[in-house]
Symmetry: C2
Subunit: 209 residues, 2 copies
């Protein structure tokens, strides 16, 4: 096995908002869901369900409904200033062409009644993203402004929440990955406040019970 | 690159509640966090923070606090019957020896104020689990019955929630993986109700925009 394979995949992945019209293999999309099905979940209830949309008409319907509510969201006065600026810097508007341009959309649903349903489902989404990247497929975790209207459009029963829409395809943009914090910015040892310092930490060591 | 590497890793991983006393390499634990830091997050806020506990005294303190609240939880009358039975079948009681037996505990924290903080953090936990498995390390996503008391014990500021404790080590049990649903049980095509049938689905095909 290649060393640090997952780190390499995680580092190469970046969220994609423009997809090329290149076709993708159906089996690669199903592969990613198959990986997600192996994730752990609260009491192993496997609360996730998936709708994979290939049909261009249905993708268009999803796009229109999402954009209708995104428009309201983007125009609302309650949006925090920092977030408005963040969106503007990235040219992210209420328009969501990726919902039509991506060859496939994975709609991720979660059973409302299962314990830790949302947590488990998002953990499984992490699995999906890495598996797609392994297959050379770009993706985005898009959370619609009004998930209920999309659920209704797709005939999803009321006991499921729509957690995310993951457009899947070949990247059509040449974006660099957004910067990430490092280990020293995010890790404490033994308790809060005791920040990790890699230069003095026994990285080569072993830890035992 | 080896084909279907991530599926192989996801399939081999199973939640572990007994750890051996075998030492583990410090750098392998940090490797998994490094992978998590590459995950996407709402507005790239990277809401996650980690405390890695190696100190046996602090692990013991965490265990005692967790068990105190687990006991109350397990004895409570409000526990659903199916869940009580599920726990009993697996010999899961209020006792959490893995919190002391695992050579390391990764405490996962999430910034309460970041958008989609919980979702992003659990997605990153998915990354962590796969990265640990890649390094041959067993893990569990344990959610304490009272996360606040553990936060307080570890001096975590109030603007973070404790989302999970991930004990990490070599497996000390010979459990089989819990069964998982298959693609046909969980996937619909284009809309709810249109269940995937692998025998008739054009798996070898391509999908285009």
């Amino acid at each position: 096995m290649e060393e640090n394979n997952i780190l390499r995949i995680a580092m190469s992945r970046r969220s994609t908002r423009r997809f090329s019209s290149e076709p993708i293999e159906v089996k690669d999309v199903l592969y990613a869901v198959q990986v997600a099905l192996q994730a752990p979940s609260g009491a192993n209830r496997q609360p996730w369900r998936f709708i994979i949309i290939f049909d261009p008409e249905i993708k268009r319907g999803v796009r229109h409904l999402c954009e209708e509510w995104e428009r309201k969201f983007h125009e609302s006065q309650s949006l925090p200033k920092w977030f408005k600026e963040w969106l503007e810097e990235r040219n992210i508007s209420w328009e969501k062409p990726f919902l039509e341009e991506a060859p496939a959309l994975i709609i991720v649903l979660a059973d409302k009644k299962a314990p830790y349903s949302r947590e488990s489902t998002w953990l499984a989404i992490g699995y999906i993203l890495l598996a797609l990247e392994e297959k050379g497929l770009a993706s985005l975790t898009y959370t619609p402004a009004n998930p209920q209207v999309i659920s209704r459009y797709l005939d999803v029963p009321l006991n499921y929440t729509l957690e995310a829409i993951i457009p899947v395809g070949r990247s059509g943009e040449n974006k660099v990955k957004e910067s990430r914090l490092g280990l020293e910015d995010t890790v404490c040892i033994d308790r809060w406040g005791n920040n990790l310092e890699l230069s003095s930490f026994p990285l080569a060591g072993y830890t035992r019970v």
